[in-house]
């Protein structure tokens, strides 16, 4: 097993993106292996050996393979150094996890490629728009009570790692972000940070040249 972690990622996968931000924030060097969801490479045997869910991201690290983005981020936070991605206080940790889950289980699963394919080309824009719009409306209400400079107070947390890819996807589904000023403000502030710049889809080796 290589000592350098290996990230199996797709440039535009929002869950891969979250993990790329975490790795960048923690300063962890890793090998990037692209898995094209568009070509269905996640369904190939060599990838399924890694992860039965046939999804990206997967992270090969410390002699085992993890998938599911939030468990990966929690693992990195428990085993790697500063900066912490979850606060120490249990209530604050809980609030960070809650915001993360509003996106992770409340919005993202309804806009992923597998679901949209099943929904069909004629309906997928309306479908994605509806669920992202509703989810962000709830998130906006919550962030008004928790945000400082970022989603929870003034430190970057796991919640922010979920927020930025979700806002990017809102753009793809033509959601009117002017309705969500708190989300928009936080997203803009995060977009200036080095780790977030490095983790952006258009900085990844599998991003097509015409999207860079």
């Amino acid at each position: 097993m290589a000592t350098k972690p290996v990230l199996y990622s797709y440039f535009r996968s929002s869950c891969s993106w979250r993990v790329r931000i975490a790795l960048a924030m923690k300063g962890i060097a890793y090998e990037y292996k692209a898995v094209s969801l568009l070509k269905g490479e996640q369904m190939q045997e060599k990838y399924q050996v890694l992860t039965p869910m046939a999804q990206v991201p997967s992270l090969e690290i410390d002699g085992f393979v993890i998938n599911q983005s939030l468990p990966i981020i929690e693992y990195l936070d428990e085993t790697r150094g500063e900066p912490a991605l979850l606060p120490k206080d249990p209530k604050q940790r809980c609030i960070v996890r809650q915001i993360s889950e509003i996106i992770n289980s409340g919005i993202q699963p309804l806009q992923n490629l597998k679901i949209l394919k099943y929904v069909g080309d004629d309906k997928k824009l309306e479908w994605g728009h509806k669920f992202i719009d509703e989810g962000l409306a709830a998130l906006e209400k919550m962030l008004k009570t928790t945000a400082g400079k970022y989603s929870v107070g003034d430190e970057v947390t796991m919640a922010d790692l979920c927020l930025v890819p979700q806002v990017y996807n809102a753009g793809r589904f033509k959601v009117d972000m002017s309705k969500f000023p708190t989300i928009s403000r936080i997203n803009a502030a995060l977009g200036e940070l080095d780790a977030f710049i490095a983790a952006h889809p258009n900085k990844q080796p599998d991003c097509p040249d015409d999207l860079k």
Copy 2:
């Protein structure tokens, strides 16, 4: 603020069910407040004040209100006594979280009432069946490598709290569970435990008499 925690729950909500098991396992007494998803009570102002996502469960505890089931369970585990619902070892914790997320973000969001209403009455059985069947197939593969008596080793963990309600829902969508012997075996073992019996939908005050 009352000292006794208040759980806002719907008897058949799988996310409420997970939290009920956690509360029962930890021996935490609580007041049960039913929110009927079928009647749309979660959309009422008095409930939305509690939780912007308009979903159950919500737990009022220690002077704040949490929703999202996995953050609630993690909070209870961090602040309340034995038995632990996550192992101490970071890798084992990660595996528990991974299995929990396969269900929490990979399967459950696609079968919830809000989505099924939007999918429509003529298609919802096929839709739910497809995504539960695919998700459980992946879960079965994973559990073959992690399970002991329960999902991860021989202790009950958060993963088991997610598993039981998911298997119940598989039944409602006519998924053939004989294809998933590991899941079925673990589910049967868990079903004998007091906390799981107490948390079952048919033991809740809002369960209609004809379903008891």
